[in-house]
Amino acid sequence: MKRLKLSDILITIVVALVFGIIYKIWGPVYNIFKPFGLHIGDVIYGMWFIAGTVAVLLLRKPGVALLAETAAASGEFLVGSEYGLSVLLYGIVQGLGTELLFALFGYKRYTAFVAALGGIAAAVGSLVMDVAYGYVMDLALWNLLLLVGARLLGGFLIAGILAYYLVEALEKTGVTSLVRPASDKDYKALDQ
């Protein structure tokens, strides 16, 4: 597999830091949305996974999703997130979720479907952290299911579908030609 070049890393981190700022702003938004523990607000939790999918859809290289999500979390942390250190570990685990899913497809498929699965995989990562951190297994069953459902739906909608369309819009600006590795199709075009 291709090693990440300096430009890949730099672009990933710049994009990730932008999302890091959004992650920070998202904290108070989320806290307002979930005042009485009903977890409906967890649908918007998906925003916290978006850096990973956006970056990997943009650059289409291994390691990018994990790097982006970790960098976004560090950015959120350095700006002074009210979740403190926990965001760093959550970020790493969520990024791993997305990364593993794209690895499962051999880093070859970058469709809306795979992106949506990537968002869901990040949501699963965050739930794994919640089991250790928030004792979520001790919630009443219906409440736990509501949490899991809302979280996965959020990952699907925001980190999956929204991320996919954001990258598609970015493709139209032509920036992706700067960042993506040349594909076989490009080489064939040269032969003609």
């Binding site: 070049k5 300096l6 430009s7 890393i9 730099l10 672009i11 990933t12 981190i13 710049v14 994009v15 990730a16 830091l17 932008v18 700022i21 904290g27 108070p28 806290n31 979930k34 005042p35 009485f36 523990g37 009903l38 977890h39 943009l58 790097l67 960098a71 560090s74 942390f77 350095l78 700006v79 002074g80 997130s81 009210e82 979740y83 403190g84 250190l85 926990s86 965001v87 760093l88 570990l89 250790a132 951190y133 928030g134 004792y135 001790d138 919630l139 009443a140 409440n143 949490l147 369309y165 954001l166 819009a169 970015l170 600006t173 920036v175 700067l178 960042v179």
Partner: protein, 264 residues
């Protein structure tokens, strides 16, 4: 971003940044294994005292930063309090079911969130990002291309803020109307997110090319800042150890709550 705030340097600023990061992360892991609400409520005082008195920032700033923590405490604790499992019912109303067990578990999660938040704030208020990245390279052997990318990216952020304001002004002059509802989301993505992101991707690419043209590579390099360990690191570890020890002792000898383990 703390480099825009005025503050006096204290001993906490002189801690080795990479060491501080690793030490704080291990505290995080230790806190995950504290299940006694008496202990964790005492533990909250350990970082709180430092945040209040030792960061060198102005009192006003500290208080302002602490306000969201109250909301955080409540929002972390609430779902477990209202909907957690337990046998000793205190209050039941509709779907809300507060039991003794779930109440204390919720309280525990709230205190845990507070602990993480305070440690995080302490770190953010007393660490200069540039020193952190140098320290990550020098003490933890992080490859320089990751650390320098980070530092470059941090410098791009203010440019993006400027660009955002410019965009907003341009759209205002052209009389672009805000749409309502879900269309508002797609509109702001097309008008703000896409141009801001694409411009910063181009900028990041240019910077990377420029850095490589100036021979930025993986070979041996020298550093402008040298990060080392010092006695302050030991003092800090001693303070935390004493604090944790005291919190444990007080929590076990003079418990405030009847429950000593919030797990079932």
């Amino acid at each position: 971003m703390q480099w825009t705030l005025q503050y006096e340097e204290t001993w906490l600023h002189r801690l080795n940044p990479a060491f501080k990061l690793i030490f704080f992360l291990s505290l995080f892991l230790i806190l995950l294994f504290v299940h006694n609400p008496n202990v964790i409520s005492n533990l909250t005082l350990v970082p709180l005292l430092l945040v209040l008195f030792a960061t060198g920032h102005r009192r006003k700033v500290i208080v302002l930063l602490l306000i969201p923590f109250l909301i955080l405490f409540f929002s972390s604790a609430s779902s477990m309090m209202f909907f957690g499992q337990g046998t000793t019912t205190w209050w039941k109303w509709g779907i809300i079911h507060i039991t003794e067990e779930s109440f204390f578990r919720g309280l525990h999660i709230g205190f845990r969130a507070l602990n993480f938040a305070l440690l995080g704030l302490l770190f953010a208020l007393t660490t200069r990002p540039v020193f952190l990245f140098y320290s990550l390279i020098q003490q933890l052997k992080v490859p320089p291309r990751f650390a320098y990318s980070f530092m470059a990216a941090v410098r791009i952020l203010p440019v993006m803020v400027e660009e955002f304001q410019q965009l907003r002004a341009a759209l205002l002059i052209r009389g672009v109307k805000k749409k309502k509802g879900l269309q508002r989301v797609t509109q702001s993505i097309m008008l703000y997110a896409v141009p801001l992101l694409s411009q910063s991707i181009r900028r990041a690419h240019r910077i990377a090319v420029a850095m490589e043209a100036k021979q930025f590579n993986n070979k041996e390099r020298t550093y402008y800042y040298k990060q080392t360990y010092s006695k302050v690191d030991i003092y800090f570890v001693l303070y935390i150890m004493a604090g944790f020890g005291l919190a444990y002792w007080v929590g076990h000898t003079f418990p405030y709550f009847g429950i000593t383990d919030v797990r079932n």
